[in-house]
Amino acid sequence: MRPVSIIGIGCTKFGERWDSSLRDLIAETGIMAIEDAGVSGEEIDALYVGNMSAGRFVEQEHIGALIADCAGLSRLHIPSTRVEAACASGGLALRQAMLSVASGYQDIVIAAGVEKMTDVSSGAAADALAAAADREWECFLGATFPALYAMMARLHMRRYGTTQEELAEVAVKNHRHGSMNPLAQYRMEVTVDDVLSSPMVADPLHILDCSPITDGAAAVVLAPAERARRYAEVPIRIIGSAQASDTLALHDRRDLTTLDATVHAARKAYDQAGIAPSEIDLAEVHDCFTIAEILAIEDLGFFEKGAGGSAIEDGLTSLDGPLPINTSGGLKACGHPVGATGIKQAYEIVLQLRGEAGSRQVDDAEIGLAHNVGGSGGTAIVHILSR
């Protein structure tokens, strides 16, 4: 296996993009990434696109060929593959692209992610998302995604004394970060009171504990590290990439307050990178709900199990803290177009490591981590990137 670098990035504005179709979003981000890398169409060997459910959201499948077509590459007949792992589809696309370059089989490969979610009612969108859980043995009985994470939150609160205020602090921090990100869906700040007084979705999670329904797309261009300098002034090396699975249904997990898939993927990624969690300068983690960020920063080894809530309340994961988490605003404020999220996380880390993150720039960032989860933890994907 040979080292792989990211040589170009692109990301659309996230939000309710009523004026843009799935095709528009993918064309917009594809052009950005290709221009940023300075590659020509003829150089591109393959495309991978993460997309969870275009079939449900826009009644369109066969997204691989579609994105090559929309990106103006149809006459080059480049192989284009859609990959799916629910909300981790983007991270999976990045990993598949990375593997194809690392193997030596292909050189210039694009990893993209896209989801167009606002063409259906919010109820239909919620039901499409529920397909990431166990349809037969969770959703059929009335489970929703917020409900599954609410049940994790309830047990975490019981075992470790985590409070609703600590959960709310995740949203407060991520909205503050999002206010500094021009691509974020929500640029307004919220307070703990705002979160706690917002409507209850699934007790103890309020609507402001949940990530939103979002349209958006993102793309990155990969190349063998030895050729990366030809394209990029500051190529960003992928020094760790790992994926792990677990039971689809939450109730079958070993522990309901740990995502074992995250633990396993993180361990493998740290091993590959040859670093400890303490060497990470910043991370984008999968905060589909506020409790998910608390679980993530524990399961990634940044804080002891049970200490995540107080770490956030103490500001340890704020932009000016020792380990900034979700500088993009996270899924909570930047938005969560499910198939695009994993690629947007890599986009944010690359931006930070290049020193191009503007008012939310983390000083002297050298190593960043991106953590993408599918479903309630059936899949976890961890990438570690380095300047």
Binding site: A126, A143, T144, M151, D203, L250, L256
Partner: protein, 136 residues
């Protein structure tokens, strides 16, 4: 848009599990499975799988009350959902029929046969198991 009309076999083939909590038991490692598994993750090819009817009594491990649901369940809100550990060991997800706020971690529950949902006015009505608190 997007309302899917499901055909009966999808529900019909799950009747033993959904109505009567029929699962499996691996006689090789003495582990119980609900929903039924025909491949034992402990023993794989050495498994000795047999059918088993669960008592249906169990304990609430964690729970929530859902105020905003998917379209099929919107009319039932608010309702309680819990992860329940059956007395034989396996865990499942199910509704607990009780006023919001009355479900507690550690509460004992027993099964009841209920309508789970229906697909519109003329669609399939599907049944299954919910749970209620055990008194005392």
């Amino acid at each position: 848009m997007m309302t899917m009309k499901t055909r009966a076999p999808r529900f019909w083939r799950c009747i033993p599990q959904r109505y009567n909590l029929i699962g499996t038991h691996c006689a090789a490692c003495d582990e119980y499975y609900f929903p039924p598994r025909n491949i034992c993750p402990n023993c794989r090819r050495d498994a000795r799988i047999e059918e088993y009817k669960f008592k249906g009594t169990g304990t609430v491990i964690t729970h929530t009350t859902i105020y905003s649901a998917t379209e099929d369940f919107e009319r039932q809100t608010p309702y309680n959902l819990a992860i329940i550990e059956l007395d034989e060991g396996p865990r499942l997800t199910g509704q607990v029929v009780a006023p919001p706020g009355e479900v507690k971690i550690g509460m004992h529950v027993r099964p009841v046969f209920r309508i789970l949902g229906k697909e519109g006015e003329r669609g399939i009505i599907y049944y299954g198991t919910k749970f209620i608190p055990v008194e005392g």
